[in-house]
Symmetry: C2
Subunit: 242 residues, 2 copies
């Protein structure tokens, strides 16, 4: 089974939803058969350079909230994060484009699934728990280095704006094709969808539903019933020509 | 979209079927959206050390064929391979367990998809075109080194019989759950199945059928309709506590 998770580093519910999903996965009997793949999604593809202002202040400005209201809202998100055992400090700074972070995540993916998982966690932690400015390339290089990526390679990827850009866009196009409008967005075996930072139990149930459904493949029409196979240690051979 | 291909290095129809699939994929309009994942399958899980005898001779012994009949059968397989542009020499030697080769393929997978693809092609070529004895660890180390893997790491994986053993078994268990009895076995988006070394056009049609069907996700039941999401640059906040 495979679960694909579309998310953005700038999205607190992706950070929290990831932990909830992992808790739900841990309660799933067939968890060893599950492969998890994280995919790119930009919450705001039109975002430019980060403003340097804390996100809370921007939200207050945008929705005409009093600063206390915006801070209280962010504090409730922080509570939700902490109750999942996640570090979370109000005052995060990331409000610019996350495109370069997603490009780097694809770079890490080429280094294997562990490198990719380590970088994703490092970015979330940097943004939500450590309040590091991920709009700053030097900070990004440091965070990536501490997550195990080569510093020179990271810098080269950041400098080359085309590097992995198509991979990010391909993920985003797939999300759109699958009907995602927001994140986190979870897809199991390209057949079952779950939206948002659901409780852990919902993820467990979703995995159980998908597992029950799996195994029933649709045999593609138009197959040659005599197409050669190898089976039980022996292989078909083509018939002798007449 | 994702295509998973279960196959064994010892299986000529896997070698040929891979080329036919790739030709079918090249004719598919949305080929850029397709990710291909190769998975492990042992044609004969009970195979032990290779006998050192050519496969043709073993087949002749096993089925009571005259040597000329066995050779003629193998020559027809060779014709099928060559008509796909593949190197193929009759006289291959690999008739022992392929478990260690699959363990190494999983090791390469950890190094990223390109490392994995290079090693798989190198093993096929070594077995079918170059007639190298893949039952011999030194030969395997050399083939892996030429495919870009670190020699010391390869030797360490070969020496540690537990390394990646669970990954190979997990692939094989999944194949069984999906109903595979022989290889090559192709699964698109865990929903559509294609068996055997089908003509390239069948693969193109299968990809088209799967593409038409994709996008229609089943929404998992029991979801909290108010689960928090981030959408269009903004994120839900939990309601204030009463």
């Amino acid at each position: 089974m495979r679960v694909e998770i579309w998310s953005d580093i700038a999205c607190p519910w992706c950070y929290i939803g990831k932990a909830r999903f992992e808790k739900g996965l841990a309660s799933f009997a067939h968890r060893d058969e599950v492969e998890v793949v994280h995919r790119s999604f930009e919450l705001d593809p039109s975002a430019g350079e980060p403003s340097g202002k804390p996100v809370v202040q921007l939200l207050a400005d945008k929705y005409g909230l009093a600063p206390e209201q915006a801070e209280a809202a962010e504090a409730r998100v922080a509570d939700a994060a902490r109750s999942e055992g996640l570090g979370y400090e109000s005052g995060r700074l990331m409000n610019g484009s996350t495109f370069d972070l997603h490009r780097l995540l694809h770079h890490a993916k080429k280094r294997g699934p562990e490198a990719h998982a380590a970088l994703l966690d490092a970015f979330y932690r940097a943004n939500f728990a450590e309040l590091l400015p991920l709009g700053d390339p030097e900070t990004v290089v440091t965070v990536a280095r501490l997550a195990g990526l080569d510093e020179a390679e990271t810098s080269a990827v950041l400098a080359d704006k085309d590097a992995y850009a198509d991979d990010v866009r391909a993920d985003e196009r797939e999300a759109a094709e699958l009907g995602a409008t927001g994140v986190p967005f979870f897809v199991i075996d390209r057949r079952f969808g779950v939206s948002g930072g659901q409780p852990a139990e919902v993820f467990t149930q979703a995995l159980e539903q998908a597992h029950t459904a799996s195994g029933g493949l649709v045999q593609v029409a138009g197959q040659d019933a005599d197409a050669p196979v190898c089976e039980d240690g022996t292989c078909d051979v083509p018939a002798e020509r007449p």
